[in-house]
Symmetry: C2
Subunit: 798 residues, 2 copies
């Protein structure tokens, strides 16, 4: 058929531009990219435009073979990258933990030795230490890596939902995140290192997937398979799971976190790979910690990775206890929702007023908060009267007061005698990890007075709210656990008091409180439950944690959205929810694009016209309209702005004649990666294109570069259905088209099942309908006798 | 507009039938059902056909209010049903466990007391006991509930994938499953009760969702919200999770099992509900067990729910041990793949030859297998020489030999002296739960000889393969754990022997072996891992279990598919995988429906013609073709066979004139549930329709009943893309239509985001493109100024 139909319906000029609208400046269309990739890699197909190839069996065979080898390489590479993500994230986590533990260990050791002589001098040293650490953090973030501020989880969530916030996956962000976390956590601010570790994992994954930073010239061509948007998303998902697995030493929790909280599109094959990455993290972290046990890691030995083993605590519970536990759930929901709301207001105020004034204001703000934190954590315990140590004969395990410079309960701080301890200093004047361990600790009845816990709760809650949203890397997990375990232990104190005879342990209530606050703030369910079980290493409390989470999430959902959703909305990351909104059922597709100016291209288009169209609007995708065999107008595909820019920049495809080009040439002129937007740059803009007048008079045949079949919906389809299509398939563009005039066929389940097994017994439950005998459907050979070879008539025009 | 356009393009007769194909006799289209439901519930909309309603604001307001109350009721009902599913499944599990443990406890107690006098008589009693229990099971299944045979997981998986196997969710199936499980497990066959419990949970969920069995007249109208296919699927998913949670006391494992293994479409809102159901199960089961601890449950006390606590075992591992663990993984992959292959052959042979000969053959087969099992489990230990008990001074905890009639290790069976035990009897002549507990038991070095374990492995593996696929309810989890822990312990014996100085425990290796076999056979990853951790109550082995699972699954995948996939294929349940096959990239939509005869209806159609078309083919969906404003042909929707049958059966919509009907009448003549296919019957067929000659001459207006906008794809779209659309959205029918001639608009992410927040600061990262000012997009009022009011022109024709 090629060569026969020198068609008479070419366009020599450019048609009057039609009305098209397409927005999202920084997006790229996965479908189109996959299409292009396939074509560039030589995988011809019925809808491909390499028409000679379709005729040539031998060529297709060769392609199939090459593709098999390529697939094998690709699979190996995927697993290798997953391994490297696991190792890299685990090492980053170990490094952060080592640094933080050593800095704080040293800080507390020095302070404790000074306060033996002078409490004032001790405070000054303590505050200066904190200020210095926090300053390095905020300086790194503001000057070097602005995208490293905050938790990073809303941004990663947005990225996986399809919104590319600039700079979140850069190499400098990774560096800023790691060193910023060390400074801010080591500096004693009311924030954690877990959220930043998730972001760190995502950065590592993304950078590994592109072979390093493009800016620092590490890019590698053997990583080409990962240059599609979908692959990048998969890697980032792996990285998130690795981050959680490393932060909490919770490999299963990591997988579930990635599944429940972060990804928008989940594939079960991916689960397997994510699982592998998490397992690698667990092994590497365990090895590193075993190595540290020998004492080579300074102050790291005792603290560090948060595993708060409460195996010594309460293992059983009675029905009577369900009431106080439900109360903990309700408190968690209320406090969590309040936390979300307060942080939302404060962050919004910061963004609109404070942070517009430049980096200096940001730095001063963080330093002031650091000073405030130092004053509160050092000053409040001074005001507190010390309690006498518990009877050491009744509790032989308890070391009270603990020797200075070690970790543990019963800190002797500003006490008159040696046999006393300061319960407020035990939680306040400590690293957060140790404080949580003390709060969770079992068999330490009446260690804390209700008054101390209440003081701590109010002060720490306020500090956490104020610290949230400053220009340092900040996670909310550990502060959340701190807040929750404080009121949990408070409730526990009352339960111990009133339910005297039961085997009640305050530490268990602290754990439930922690779960409830996280549930009420972050609104995670299964993943949080598993993470709590994994960090406390106690499965027996699982049903209780589930119960508390159910209640706190339900209460929180009554008031507002989850922390990450709120923050994402605040940062202008428009997350597409998994379900359409209710009112969409009453709208049709046409209404959603009612005010659009649709601008479309003809197949062969003058370069100057392309320039004009690209300059005159910000649309990101353009329909391409051609003509069918009988001269009727037909939509032949979708052209992306980014691909047009690549074509304009390379100039290789310009032609002087307004006739279709030979698509064989295209694969020799371009490789697939020409069209890939690098992860760590903004991509080209129209201003980067410089053409001479002669070049502007030339033509460009868009046919080889367009996505020939974007998804379409009829104009009067319910918007809810359109939304489902868009969201479930992760699309970027859908064409709204007129209602079809006829149905060529119906595709049902049976048409998509190509059974290898022709055993008639196996068919007994299948359809009994008569099926016209036809050729083997699995044949991938050319299909020449299709009734309406539309693409042929359209494109085989030589 | 109504009443203006008495159009001139009605059809009075029936157009020449066009070519359409649509199969899947027993399917129903979710989209169409939702559409109908919405219309029947009065929720008008732009694409709805109640055109008067669109004009009437007041009416819509009233509808919106009613709909709010309805939504609240609906949400409450959903959670109530989830609660009931949890309670019901937990009680069913407790009942099965109580019955099984009591029957087997009694059986072993009687046998042990008899063998003190005569081993032959003991064997006879033992065998008769087993035969009697197995007979009740197989009799119940074959005579009363044939769908209760086997594990049920492949069928449930198929149901959730969209294939409705007849009878799997009936009330009689539930009864058959519960009592059949008791008989087959109590009768000592090499099968488990876990798969059947999943099926039981699914049945309970489905029956609760429709308010009980329709056949036994429990149906209730207040459950109407659950009468859509999608709601039923959600409930069944909850039921599956509840089943796993109850079977293994593994609530998180249950959620993950439902997520990873069973469902095909997962929504994160569902996760939350599934999680709740699992938590309820955990609480109920725990309460029941606490109640049983007081000794009210007969023999139940010690055994029953499988929690094999190995907390006393090995907690640490050295790098050296990773090699034998990897070997366990490889063995697991090989044995698992072999198991899948063997069971596939045997089941296929059974289906094709043996089971075709009727129920009597099935009963005899099971009884023979039961006898064989009795002979082996009783006879083989007789041949084994007893070992002397371990030194009771060195191991004060060990009770050797155990007192007759109790559970535990060290069974004295056919031994010459009192201070001996028979290691083969310890695992063979025991309930499987106790046998596994013995195999997992820690600190019992050298309890089993390698020879005994090998004998057991070979015999039990063969028994498990032979038993699989017989006509009794049969799970594969427990046999799998038995097989795996046997070779795991074998490897452990060698490790203990060669790595002498390490703190190695054979029980830990048995656990890893169990994980590896299940991984190699069922190919589950995260869910299996969590289940193993939950049943052994030991989190510290998590990384090792992950490692072993990774290896065994990879090895198994090299040979064949997972057990459930193989069995589903064998049973003719065509599961749609989540990804299209590779060759689909080289096919286009048209090729998939190339040989179809497309049969379409006009909008107004004669009853006799409908009868003729429905009789002449088995298609399940028919396009309806009408005419647009200018007389051009347009596809106006999809009509389902099942809905046509309902209309023909009720006769209420027949009209004598060939003109469009008044759609207001439709909502008064029908309620939504008229169109719902009851879960537990086959639904109507064309043979149930009896019409007089007069009725056959009447007309039917299909417009109010059709799905006005099924998803469409252009004829030359890649089949892989069509597959994604079909699979991701869970569709039943897709129309293949000609390429569109023009693009009315493009829908992008921004068009689907309707922000409540118009804060300009929040927009800073959003699009910078200029957007034409338009009316508030959220308004759901009538949209009269749409450019192409296609539906109006099409349907408002009075």
């Amino acid at each position: 058929m090629p060569g026969i139909m020198l068609s008479n319906h070419f366009q020599n000029g450019i048609e009057t531009a039609k009305l098209v609208w397409s927005r999202l400046p920084s997006s790229d269309d996965v479908e189109t990219e996959e299409e292009l990739e396939r074509r560039m890699n030589g995988g011809g197909g019925a809808e491909s435009l390499d028409y000679e190839v379709i005729e040539n069996y031998a060529y297709r065979e060769a392609q199939a073979k090459r593709s098999k080898l390529f697939n094998w390489y690709y699979a190996m590479l995927k697993w290798l990258i997953a391994l490297l993500i696991g190792v890299g994230t685990a090492l980053a986590a170990v490094f952060i933990n080592l640094a933080v533990e050593n800095f704080s260990g040293w800080k507390y050791a020095v302070t404790f030795s000074i306060i033996q002589h002078s409490y004032f001098l001790g405070f000054v040293v303590y505050a200066i230490f904190n200020l210095a650490l926090v300053l390095t953090s905020v300086f790194t973030v503001t000057q070097f890596a602005p995208a490293a501020a905050g938790s990073g989880i809303p941004e990663i969530k947005g990225y996986l939902n399809g919104v590319d916030t600039h700079g979140i996956l850069l190499f400098r962000t990774l560096i800023g995140k790691i060193f910023g976390s060390i400074g801010s956590v080591g500096g004693g601010l009311a924030l954690g290192k877990e959220g930043p570790l998730v972001h760190t994992g995502a950065c590592i994954a993304s950078l590994l997937g592109q072979g390093g930073s493009t800016k620092y010239h590490f890019s590698s061509s053997w990583l080409r398979p990962f240059e599609s948007d979908r692959e990048r998303r998969d890697l980032v998902t792996c990285g998130c799971a690795a981050g959680v697995a490393a932060a909490f030493r919770a490999p299963v929790g990591g997988v579930l976190f990635a599944l429940e909280e972060v990804t928008s599109w989940w594939r079960s094959q991916l689960m397997w790979r994510v699982f592998f990455t998490s397992a690698i993290v667990a092994v590497v972290v365990r090895t590193a910690m075993a190595w540290c046990k020998s004492g080579k890691c300074g102050h790291f030995g005792s603290g560090g990775f948060i595993i708060w083993d409460i195996s010594g605590g309460q293992e059983d519970y009675s029905f009577k206890e369900l009431l106080p536990m439900a109360i903990i759930g309700i408190i968690g929901g209320l406090f969590g929702a309040l936390f979300n709301q307060l942080t939302l207001y404060i962050t919004s105020w910061r963004r609109n007023y404070l942070h517009k004034k430049g980096n200096r204001v940001k730095i001063i703000e963080v330093l002031l908060i650091s000073l405030m934190t130092s004053v509160i954590s050092f000053g409040l315990p001074l005001l507190r009267k010390c309690s006498p140590c518990p009877n050491s004969e009744a509790n032989p395990d308890i070391d009270c007061p603990r020797p200075p410079g070690t970790d543990g309960n019963f800190v002797n701080f500003f006490c008159s005698t040696d046999k006393e301890y300061n319960d407020l200093a035990t939680i306040f004047f400590n690293t957060q990890d140790d404080a949580i361990r003390n709060l969770f600790s079992a068999k330490t009845f009446h260690e804390y007075s209700a008054q101390s816990l209440l003081t701590f709760l109010v002060m720490f809650y306020s500090l956490a709210v104020v610290t949230f949203g400053t220009a340092v890397p900040a996670g909310q997990f550990v502060p959340g656990i701190m807040i929750g375990s404080t009121y949990g232990r408070l409730v526990g104190i009352f339960v111990v008091k009133y339910y005297m005879k039961l085997n009640v342990d305050e530490g268990t209530y602290a754990l439930l409180g922690a779960a409830s606050f996280l549930g009420g703030s972050m609104r995670m369910t299964v993943s949080l439950c598993v993470i709590m079980v994994e960090i406390t290493n106690n499965l027996k409390l699982l049903p209780l944690i589930m119960l508390v989470l159910l209640i706190s999430k339900a209460v929180g959902d009554f008031f507002n959205e989850g922390l990450y959703e709120e923050q994402a909305r605040l940062r202008g990351i428009p997350l597409l929810e998994s379900r359409p909104k209710q009112f969409m059922r009453n709208m049709i597709a046409q209404e959603a694009c009612k005010n659009q100016q649709v601008i479309s291209f003809p197949r062969i288009v003058k370069v100057s016209e392309i320039l004009y169209v690209l300059r005159s609007n910000k649309h990101n995708g353009f329909p391409v309209v051609g003509h069918g065999r009988n001269g009727e107008e037909l939509v032949i595909g979708l052209m992306l702005r980014s691909h047009l820019l690549v074509l304009l920049h390379s100039k290789r495809d310009f032609q002087s004649s307004p006739f279709p080009c030979d698509p064989r040439g295209v694969t020799s002129r371009h490789i697939w990666s020409d069209f890939v937007k690098p992860i760590s740059s903004k991509g080209m803009t129209i201003d980067d294109i410089h053409l001479t007048e002669d070049e502007k008079e030339m033509y460009l045949d868009l046919a080889p570069f367009l996505n020939p079949c974007p998804y379409v919906v009829p104009e009067d389809m319910s918007l809810a259905k359109v939304y489902n299509l868009f969201r479930q398939l992760g699309l970027r563009h859908i064409f709204v088209v007129p209602r079809p005039s006829r149905v060529i066929g119906l595709i049902t389940r049976k048409d998509l099942l190509f059974e290898e097994n022709d055993n008639p017994a196996a068919m007994e439950l299948q359809t009994t309908s008569v099926r016209a005998p036809g050729p083997d459907r699995r044949s991938v050979g050319p299909q020449e006798h299709i009734d309406h070879p539309l693409l042929d008539s359209l494109l085989i025009q030589r």
